[in-house]
Symmetry: C2
């Protein structure tokens, strides 16, 4: 009851209001640089960071010394390699991923299509793992990516596991972008969530990308400290609606296996 209660007291959980002292300010800078289209010059960062020049200079210096940023030969700043090292370690040892791995492989074997494991974080889904059919994993091609909740199978599956208040909070906080003709709106999303809760499966019918469909099922821990989903994704010509229905059960089964694995693997230590 202590660590988990992500109480919904604040509606304004906007990414802008941070209260993490010095670290928070530095992370804002790191975000600016990693989110940019390419390397940024000092002046470019200065313009968006809204900090005095002297201050910014020292901050970037610190980030660079720690390897979180890198200074290119021309003086521009780019994300640093230290990030890759940190991430690869955190990925390799992630408990949820390790527990899910065999089940993802099994599901991949069964379907022959790409299998994803994603987790809800804030109002996005972050992909924790993926098992591809013919081609092996291109690690960061997808893993680590943050994707919208409302138009991915995993995202919708995850949402269906949340209590209504948290669901409402998230829907309210997201701005719905229309990626394809089928992309949901807040209203249609709510209706779908109700369906998913009933059937146990979420579908993505070309809602994010034309030609891509998927079946997903929610995966969550009892205390909702982990909320995510598994999915099978593939091209529309292979994933006919019949196929989607056919694989709905196996996907659900995989999700359940992962969840029981989590109870065994994580439960005893509480």
């Amino acid at each position: 009851m202590s660590a988990t209660d992500g109480d919904i007291m604040d509606k304004n959980e906007a990414a802008d209001k941070r209260e993490t002292g010095t670290l928070g300010k530095l992370m804002v800078l790191l975000d600016i640089v990693t989110h940019a289209d390419g390397p940024m010059r000092f002046t470019d960062i200065l313009a968006v960071a809204g900090q005095p020049r002297g201050t910014l200079h020292r901050q970037l210096g610190h980030l660079t010394e720690e390897g979180l940023l890198e200074v290119l030969a021309d003086g521009r700043y780019a994300p640093g390699l230290r990030l890759l090292d940190l991430a690869s370690r955190s990925w390799a040892r992630n408990e949820f991923r390790l527990i899910a791995e065999p089940h993802l492989n099994a599901l991949q074997q069964l379907t022959g299509e790409t299998v994803h494991l994603g987790v809800l974080r804030g109002a996005s889904v972050i992909y924790l793992d993926k098992v591809e059919g013919s081609q092996p994993v291109r690690m960061y091609s997808q893993i680590g990516n943050a994707s919208p909740i409302y138009c991915t199978g995993v995202g919708k599956a995850a949402l269906s596991a949340l209590p209504d208040d948290r669901l409402d909070a998230i829907i309210a906080s997201v701005s719905f972008q229309r990626f394809t003709e089928n992309t949901l709106t807040p209203e249609t999303l709510r209706r779908e969530i109700a369906d998913i809760r009933r059937s146990g499966n979420a579908f993505d019918r070309e809602e994010h990308e034309v030609g891509i469909r998927c079946v997903a099922a929610p995966v969550y821990s009892e205390d909702l400290s982990f909320v995510g989903g598994v999915s099978v994704t593939g091209p529309a010509y292979r994933l006919t609606f019949g196929r989607l229905e056919e694989w709905a059960l196996p996907v659900r089964r995989a999700a359940e296996s992962i969840m029981s694995g989590m109870r065994i693997g994580l439960g005893p230590r509480r």
Copy 2:
């Protein structure tokens, strides 16, 4: 005058002496947690961090709020998902990786084996990219992983591009661990570096992992702001010594293509 002149005169650039203010202290903690075998309790961290409890508590709190760490249901700390997100962004836009990608693919097509791109960072090699062959052989290699310099093809190739003083400094700073019967020692490494400088190719003859061999070639920018290498890696039964020789040239060619790509892609902006 003492505070400012942080000239590069100090030889003792051991990883312990950081001068990055508050950020440095936090990064030490982040390293502790990401390098651990598993999630750590508060007290575990306290023991190795050597900080007062109150201080440590606040620091961990800040790291957690920023998503760099995560608190599990039982209170233990694990690396946070924010790291994955940051890394995936920095990876996707990495200039060197983007320039090298097509050449890595070509090399993979030609050889059918796994191709790596790695970069020197301090006394380790960090893998920036990997293109796997169609037959997945499970081996220790992952993007973002930091591996030892002295027993990987990419590592040795990278070393060969360095001037002697930097080479010496690195060799002196590394503790040589014996992974297999063939793992090099400081002396044999120096001899090999000389060979690599002459021939343009580095080899790994089961020096890191039994049954795994590789051919590599150095890739570096003119000003040595980028020092790394490309390699073709595979199981010993396929990568006979004859094969290694046969692929030495194509690997060198790929390295050269990447370097000329770097001159075009990165040069003009300097």
